[in-house]
Amino acid sequence: MHHEAFIDLNLLSLEVYLPIFWSLFEVKRGIQRFFDFERSDAKLAAVLITPTLILVIGVVAYPLIYSFRMSFGDVEFANIKDYDFVGIFQYVKTFTDPEFIQAIQVSAKFVFSTVLVKLVLGTLIAVMLKEKFFGRSIARALIIIPWATPFVVVGIMWKWMLHSKVGVINFFLQRLGIIHDYIPFLSSKTFAIPCVVLADVWQGTPFFIIIILAGLQTIPEDLYEAAHMDGASGIKAFFTITLPLIRFPLFISTILGTIFAINSFDLFFVLTKGGPGKITTNATLFDWNNAFKFYHLSYASAISYVILMFSMLVTIGYVVLMRKTQVE
């Protein structure tokens, strides 16, 4: 029996191989059909967005779930292998930890002041750069450079200029008669946060200027001429025509600026290291310290989620706005 079965399967006969060829052919046709992008958008789309999805969803979503789980445990770096579920313990801790509450307050002060100053300054400078004058294009080009400056460098620049003994800002202020003695700005309880705001405003205002200026350029000139005929010009025209028409760029830059400011870390780290005391430790720096200095991984994860909730609220506003403009 065995012998006969063996004879049946004649390895030299072509017919034995036919099913194999046929299935290979099927596979090839399947592949061809799958990559026949002309017939179906979905397949091409699947191929095209897969790398982005893997990177963004994989490298972003998976870590989020990972740290979500961690925030309900009691993991320290030393006992990283054993995870005990402790429920919302870490979250309760965040809201009862005076240091974290202080850090939130620092963040709030910083976000509010830096966004407000950038918005006002950005609008004024954008209005100025919209005027026609000699050297306008050079001015517009040069004003973007601070935006391209890494925050660590921004921190170093301002740390040096704000130096308590040989800082050029102290020198100017003394010469102008505003201060009598040099002030140790960065180690002063009063001036530390304003100094971080100053450096951040220097770096971030150009972004606001670019967005607002682009908005200004869409306003047709004859609107102003018509308003001029009606006796409205100058400041009145600014409030009745300009501001309402650039409300969308203003919204967008405010929302993006708020998110940047919530996540601000480098400047705090380089300029003041959170000091003096904890005066300039914002929520992000506090989170970082807990994670990578004290290794309270679960507590830091919970803090991360609290920060994430705050920025999500802002983001939802952003997405709603984006969708709205697409519909319009």
Binding site: V47, S67, T149, P150, V166, F269, L308
Partner: protein, 283 residues
């Protein structure tokens, strides 16, 4: 009162230039100041009256930081450039793919995925760092440049996709259709029609990636703790925090750090403005 110098127009010009000079001084003086600091000998920096025009010029600071020292800026510069160029290339290629899919193809779930991308872009990076660190450590990506590339690419792809998406949307569909009638495939039309037309968008998102990558600090600090793989921001921060602060050397390193981003931004200034304002201003 009819003096030529005090017509309303003239007065407006004078006020304009006055504020313009103050504005430009505020934004540009810090650059001037770190360059000046970096080319002066050490003893001049601590003079009671700052030298606004240096008395002696020296390039010792630059020679010192580029040689093998405690903080080697040459290695950091090389690392930073490798990471930034890789991130830029990967982001542009994947960004083109994804943006085309979202802008031109109909498929189930495209809206949901697109919104998910925008949300991903808005996540606070610090919230991702602990899991990044632990996962990257498991697969051996901490203390590597590849790890930095993967992390930064995942942070930048959403914004690149968004910029290119708004670009592709502005390209008339007829342009693509006529190519398709001439027998080009969808992928062919993408490569031969859409990509060349949206070159400004590609340039602007490329520069944005490059600038971001050259400056990225927090994530790099979490993933890299070996001097050999330090990027420029890490090397600079180490300068500031670990050793006694030598401002001559620090400002020299800072100047080297900003040369590339600033040069690119100045060269491609127009494109960047278009890229940054994509979506923020209605066309």
């Amino acid at each position: 009162m009819k003096s030529k110098f005090f017509t309303a127009k003239k007065r407006k010009k004078i006020i304009l230039y006055f504020f313009l000079i103050i504005t430009m001084a505020f934004f540009l003086f810090p650059f001037y100041w770190i360059v000046m600091t970096s080319i002066q000998p050490k003893d001049q920096l601590y003079a009671p009256i700052p030298n606004f025009i240096p008395k002696n010029i020296t390039f010792d600071n630059y020679i010192n930081i580029l040689g093998a020292g405690r903080v080697n800026i040459a290695i950091a510069l090389k690392n930073s450039l490798i990471v930034a160029v890789s991130v830029t290339v990967v982001c542009i290629v994947f960004g083109i793919f994804a943006a085309y899919a979202f802008a031109r193809l109909r498929f189930k779930g495209s809206n949901v995925l697109f919104v998910a991308l925008i949300f991903a872009q808005m996540l606070p990076p610090v919230a991702l760092l602990i899991p990044f660190y632990l996962i990257f450590k498991q697969v051996g990506l901490t203390n590597t440049l590849q790890g930095l590339v993967i992390m930064q690419t995942s942070w930048l792809l959403p914004i690149v996709t968004w910029i290119l998406y708004s670009y592709f949307k502005t390209i008339p569909k007829d342009l693509e259709d006529s190519a398709r009638i001439d027998g080009a495939s969808k992928v062919g039309a993408l490569m031969r029609i859409i990509v060349p037309v949206s070159l400004p968008g590609l340039v602007s998102s490329g520069v944005i990636c490059f600038v971001f990558s050259m400056g990225e600090f927090m994530g790099a600090m979490a993933l890299v703790n070996v001097t050999r793989f330090h990027t420029l921001p890490l090397a600079l921060a180490q300068f500031v925090t670990k050793y006694s602060i030598e401002y001559g050397k620090i400002t020299a390193s800072a100047v080297l750090t900003i040369i590339f981003p600033v040069a690119f931004v100045l060269i491609f200034q127009r494109y960047i403005v278009k890229g940054l304002t994509a979506g923020a201003v209605k066309e």
